[in-house]
């Protein structure tokens, strides 16, 4: 049958590189079915599929509990680039509570206790409260969002997160007019997180956003990836994902969210203010003191010889977030 199915030579763009994995696998499935002579039924399914070309969920790896998200309709939430393999996403992490090598979190984070878990909401809000994880998960519809993730170190991934816009939670707790910033505080339990207390950073890990950044629909409160709950090393059970900022802004394993009128301290800014600013928007024109940010290495994309990509302003989300920074000197406010 091989003469019926033209095999693409290696150098052609693979469908998997420009198509969500689900659609891609769907096509492979179709080809298989055609070959098996059940074309009628499959074609009907296929027609349905292609009508919603973007409405396919990423295939679950089947490792952890499913979250059953829907496809997100938020603008910018469906990056059409090759998704980084699950193994790479979950074995190459910066999560210094579990060690400083990229492979440490996957090795050490099994000790993290994610149940019971609750998130404390405090500060300048009408309804300060402590929310159990179960209630937090159900607070809004879980969506799959395929975002680019750009690390300040010069590498990037494409990750199918699961969660909902942080703004859903913020609206529910009703911030006061005086609330201008949101602080995210991570779990810091030296008993279950072996490197909490090491001299690397001030613990707990703390990150912050301006209120309008926090309210932007792209800002995600994430509970999972690849259709399943977050593995511990990725910041279980609940984390932030701010796709237009360097990865460290997306705090992991959050236990407290605080609303303030003053710009909060953030962990990396305190550790090295000249290298990591409060904003830390992805910006190819503002160098890190030790390297250029003009290009990045996309992981899981051809290994050692893969060509570096040009880094995009706001990580390619300028259309969605550019207006937040109108008139702001991005070089000064890096």
């Amino acid at each position: 049958m091989s003469h019926l199915i033209r095999i693409r030579p290696d150098h052609d763009d693979l469908p998997s590189e420009i198509t969500p994995q689900g659609v891609y696998h769907g096509r492979r499935e179709l080809l298989k079915n055609v070959a098996q002579g059940v074309a009628g039924l499959s074609l009907a399914q296929w027609a349905q599929r292609s009508a919603f070309a973007q409405s396919e969920l990423t295939t679950r790896p089947g490792k952890l509990a499913a979250l059953n998200p829907v496809v997100s309709k938020v603008s910018g939430a469906q990056v059409m680039e090759k998704i980084t393999p699950y193994e790479d996403v979950t074995s190459y992490n910066n999560f210094y509570e579990f060690g400083t090598d990229k492979s440490d979190p996957a090795r050490n984070a099994h000790t993290l206790k994610t149940q019971p878990w609750s998130v404390e909401i405090e500060g300048l809000v009408k309804k300060p409260q402590r929310i159990n994880l179960e209630d937090l998960i159900k607070l809004s519809t879980q969506e799959e969002r395929i975002y680019r993730m750009r690390c300040v170190e010069g590498w990037s991934m494409v990750i199918p997160w699961v969660g909902y816009s942080l703004s859903e939670l913020i609206k529910k707790v009703e911030p006061l007019g005086s609330a201008k910033f949101v602080t995210f505080i991570s779990q810091a339990d030296p008993k279950t997180m072996p490197f909490v207390g090491s001299a690397i950073l001030d613990w707990p890990y703390q990150e912050g956003l301006r209120m309008d950044e926090a309210m932007n629909p792209l800002t995600l409160l994430s509970f999972g990836l690849y259709g399943e709950v977050l593995p511990n090393q990725s910041g279980a059970p609940v984390r932030l994902v701010v796709p237009w900022k360097y990865g460290f802004k997306s705090a992991k394993s959050i236990v407290k969210i605080k609303f303030t009128d003053k710009q909060p301290d953030t962990a990396w800014n305190k550790a090295a203010a000249n290298e990591y600013g409060f904003y830390s928007n992805v910006n190819p024109n503002v160098d890190h003191p030790r390297w250029s940010q003009a290009t990045e290495r996309r992981l899981g994309e051809g290994g050692l010889l893969a060509k570096r990509r040009k880094t995009l302003l706001f990580n390619g989300y300028e259309a969605q977030v550019g207006q937040l920074y109108a008139g702001l000197d991005l070089k000064k406010n890096f």
């Binding site: 790479d88 690397i200 030790r290 050692l304």
Partner: protein
């Protein structure tokens, strides 16, 4: 010490140098092999650049331990291996710089040059490479004759500058993340070996 002559005999064996060269090149060859067979993990380029940098620091430790070891044990034959160990350091530095130029900079020479001028971290590493290149190029007997033994010896004291620059480069790499453990270990080992050399030179001066 009864063992000394037999150790000397082993070190003077014609196979001693080839064996040392084989042992010295093994970690580098192993690293290249892993890079070629995609065994360097999720970010192979970063792994290659960092691990080749570690090889340089290790090679500097082997090189600097040689002379103190010779003086302390009286095994004079150890001196034959200085050049090989020095060239071993240079080889690791070349691998390190090649990895950076290729996989971080994709041989964009203008960008590399800008990087060198703009970033103290890179500049210091590059300066160490320049000095080391001068030492490697003058490591042959003919160069000693041309320069004269005295001048040659002064020039090759440059290896201590290379050590200091290398440590600074490594320190800057780790400083922003406050990961000082390895930096301290290498600094302790290398500086105590250098201090030993200074002390022994000073003693010899006192004697003459």
């Amino acid at each position: 010490m009864a063992w000394r002559p037999s150790v000397q005999r082993v070190l003077l064996h014609p196979l001693a140098k080839p064996l040392l060269i084989a042992a010295l090149t093994t970690p580098g060859v192993w690293l290249i092999k892993k890079a070629l067979s995609d065994e360097l993990g999720v970010n192979p380029a970063e792994a290659l650049i960092r691990q080749s940098g570690d090889l340089v620091l290790n090679a500097l430790c082997y090189l600097l331990v040689l002379s103190p070891l010779r003086e302390l044990t009286g095994v004079v034959a150890l001196a034959r291996f200085r050049r090989i160990l020095g060239l071993g350091v240079f080889g690791c530095v070349c691998l390190h710089i090649l990895s950076y130029s290729w996989f971080d900079m994709e041989f964009e020479w203008a960008d590399i040059w800008l990087d060198v001028l703009k970033r103290p971290f890179i500049f210091v590493g590059f300066a160490a490479f320049v000095i080391l290149s001068a030492l490697a190029l003058t490591s042959f007997n003919a160069a000693i004759r041309t320069l004269g033994a005295k001048r040659w010896r002064i020039l090759h004291k440059g290896v201590f500058v290379v050590v200091l620059l290398g440590l600074l480069h490594f320190y800057w790499m780790r400083a922003s993340k406050h990961r000082f453990e390895d930096v301290i270990n290498y600094a302790l080992i290398l500086s105590s070996l250098m201090l030993y050399r200074v002390a022994s030179a000073w003693r010899q001066k006192g004697r003459s």
